[in-house]
């Protein structure tokens, strides 16, 4: 079994807590993205899984087996480094063969497997080239091939696309995801780019300040962020959050956005429950893509500060009350910078967050 289980993991560097009490299960054959801004502890988590660093407390299990004390030489994880860590003093072939050679696999067997993997990753034409001067995409395939050839049960990738230019990154994303889906290889992919995590992963684990914020499928995390951090971090642009206070009118709960107006009645039981619990100060959240223009004096009253048209997308920057937000439309909109706009978020898209804790006010 090649599932990964982190149990009560913590990591301290001196007085700095890189990871604060983390439990995470990666299923067999799953593509999990560890996502977070730099310094959030995602790389440390990855290093602990690989055995490059020891945890301060907590256990790492591969399947049933506790590997916490297994040195990294014998953990048998595949690892693709951010800079690929290609052995530049060796040929492409020698790089691919490395893992087999140090294990004492007989030469004919090595040749066979190198040929097979080179064929699969389209590295065959480069086999006898020195690896020092290859292009980034070849280096990346080489790094994957070098790890894959020893057939690790678990594959860890540390921001492998960050050195690739934007257009090619999109292609590599699709390829990598396709590869993973074909082979059902357990993969943990570390990235700070929410786009990579969203597009590739089966599930995303979002981290911030050493704390696991949320684990879920990309759409889960996008649609139902667990807290304000995840809401802002996921999505491009992130979720709009306007300060609001809940109040009751005619038996309905509405969000008072101050100068920006009053929302439509909130359909959620959760809003009611929160209100009953005495939570009044909330963030009124909605995705920039979920807005539609409304007739005057309806919806959120905003003043347009700036309009970007990027290809077929129009990004409208606006101020609503004290807060700023963005709206994304898939076509031109009859708005102009300096003008006023009225926008309504789709009812189902509205999310509420407790302003004192930042936590989502859940659905009921």
């Amino acid at each position: 079994m090649s599932s990964i289980h982190l149990k009560g993991l913590t990591k301290h560097f001196g007085s700095f807590q890189a990871i604060k009490q983390m439990d995470l299960d990666v299923h067999d054959g799953e593509f999990l993205a560890l996502l977070g801004p730099s310094g959030c502890g995602k790389s440390t988590t990855m290093n602990i899984i690989a055995g490059m660093e020891g945890a301060t407390t907590g256990r790492v299990l591969f399947g049933e087996r506790d590997v916490s004390d297994v040195p990294m030489t014998r953990r048998g994880v595949g690892f693709v480094f951010q800079n690929y860590a290609i052995f530049t003093h060796m040929s492409v072939r020698a790089n691919l063969a490395y893992g087999l050679k140090v294990r004492g696999v007989p030469k004919p067997e090595i040749d066979k497997r190198v040929a097979a993997i080179a064929d699969f990753l389209q590295l065959a034409p480069f086999l006898d080239r020195p690896s020092a001067k290859l292009s980034v995409n070849i280096l990346q395939r080489l790094a994957i091939g070098r790890s894959a050839i020893v057939q690790p049960a678990i594959f860890l990738l540390d921001e492998p696309l960050s050195n690739v230019d934007a257009a090619f990154r999109a292609v590599m994303r699709t390829e990598l995801k396709h590869l993973q889906r074909q082979f059902k290889q357990t993969m943990v992919y570390v990235t700070h780019d929410q786009l990579e995590a969203m597009t590739m992963a089966d599930r995303i684990a979002v981290m911030d300040h050493g704390v696991l914020q949320q684990v879920g499928t990309p759409l889960d995390v996008y649609n139902n962020p667990a807290n304000v951090f995840v809401a802002r971090f996921i999505g491009s642009p992130g979720m709009n959050l306007l300060p609001a206070s809940l109040r009751e009118t005619d038996g309905n709960i509405v969000a008072d956005l101050g100068a920006a107006g009053v929302s439509r009645p909130l359909p959620r039981g959760a809003a009611k429950a929160a209100y009953a619990q005495g939570i009044q100060d909330v963030w009124f959240g909605f995705r920039p893509e979920e807005l539609s223009l409304a007739a005057d004096s309806q919806g959120i009253a905003a003043s347009v500060t700036f309009i970007e048209r990027i290809g077929s997308r129009t990004v409208v920057h606006f101020d609503a009350g004290q807060a700023a937000g963005k709206a994304v439309f898939q076509n031109d909109v009859p708005l102009h910078a300096g003008g006023a706009a009225h926008m309504v978020p789709a009812d189902a898209a509205v999310r509420l967050f407790d302003r004192s804790t930042g936590r989502a006010i859940g659905e009921a």
Partner: protein, 315 residues
């Protein structure tokens, strides 16, 4: 990023255009320095060549410029070819080299590997380890001269360990004197080797070592397949420095044994020194010096050319 690269590329091409004019200006600006270098380096060399073709000596009663009156064609060089003392000095020098340099290299490498890891008191050990390098060679020579006296500490310790009185005449026994001299050299120069090799080891990319470890390579496999190849250039440099230096071994040795007993530890430097100060046969000395210089340069040139070629092939 890309536009930086672009700018650099265009600048490089632009540099080609401006090159010719720049080069001329460069020549003018460096001319005084070049003339000075010419005077310092080339003039003595020519003078040496001139004298090496004569039997001139400071006692010949003529100024060096008049040495032509003592012209002896290639007698000095022919003489050298059959001078048994020269050949044995050369062999001895090579023997010292063959013992000291590998020993220094292996010791230095072992120490450098130890220092890759962190351990208690690393800094202190580090300072102690580097001390011999800072000792003036003449002082080191004197230290070992004292250590290897028949009543000296080396014999004392040997006595204490073996339980009976040891009185080895280290410096007056031809083969033991040789060992003593080698020990002194190794003591003094292992630290330099250590320092260079440690720098080399620390320069091996950490992620490559990690990658190798994750692929299942044990320490020895990592050492052979990653560390050594990555350190090749620096190893060549370290060996070259020590080989050249060791070839010129003189001060420590001269103070310990003065090349003796007899000529048992007479290396080329000592040989030349004796010829110069005792025999005053400067024409002959000039010839030897030239031969040494040229053969060293040729050997070094070949070594460097080979290294460069390999690096070009690798990249």
């Amino acid at each position: 990023m890309t536009s930086f690269a672009e700018t650099e590329a265009t600048l490089a091409i632009a540099a080609d255009d401006a090159d010719r004019a720049d080069r001329r200006l460069g020549l003018y600006l460096t001319l005084p320095a070049q003339i000075l270098v010419l005077f310092i380096a080339v003039f003595p060399l020519l003078m040496q060549l001139y004298i090496s073709l004569t039997s001139w000596s400071p006692l010949s009663g003529r100024g060096w410029w008049d040495a032509w009156t003592l012209w002896n064609n290639f007698a000095n060089y022919l003489n050298l070819a059959v001078d048994a003392r020269w050949w044995s000095a050369l062999l001895r020098t090579l023997l010292v080299m063959a013992i000291c340099v590998p020993a220094e290299f292996l010791l230095g490498l072992a120490l450098a590997i130890l220092f890759m890891d962190n351990f208690r008191g690393k800094r202190v050990f580090y300072s102690i380890l580097l001390m011999p390098m800072m000792v003036v060679p003449a002082v080191a020579g004197y230290m070992f001269f004292m250590l290897f006296q028949s009543g000296g500490p080396v014999n004392n310790i040997a006595s204490a360990i073996s339980g009976h009185n040891v009185a080895i005449a280290w410096l007056s026994n031809p083969s033991l004197a040789f060992i003593a001299v080698a020990v002194a050299d190794i003591w003094q120069w292992t630290p330099l080797m250590f320092l260079i090799l440690l720098a080399g080891l620390l320069g091996v990319p950490d992620d490559q070592l990690k990658a190798a470890t994750l692929l299942g390579a044990n320490w020895w496999q990592r050492f052979v397949t990653i560390m050594l190849p990555r350190m090749r250039a620096i190893i060549v440099i370290a060996l070259a420095i020590r080989l050249i230096e060791n070839f010129k071994i003189f001060d420590t040795l001269y103070i310990m044994t003065a090349g003796g007993p007899g000529t048992a530890t007479e290396t080329i430097s000592v040989f030349i020194y004796k010829l110069t100060t005792n025999d005053l046969s400067w024409g002959y000395v000039a010839a030897i010096a030239l031969v040494v210089l040229i053969s060293l340069s040729v050997a070094l040139g070949i070594a460097i050319a080979r290294q460069t070629k390999r690096r070009e092939a690798a990249s």
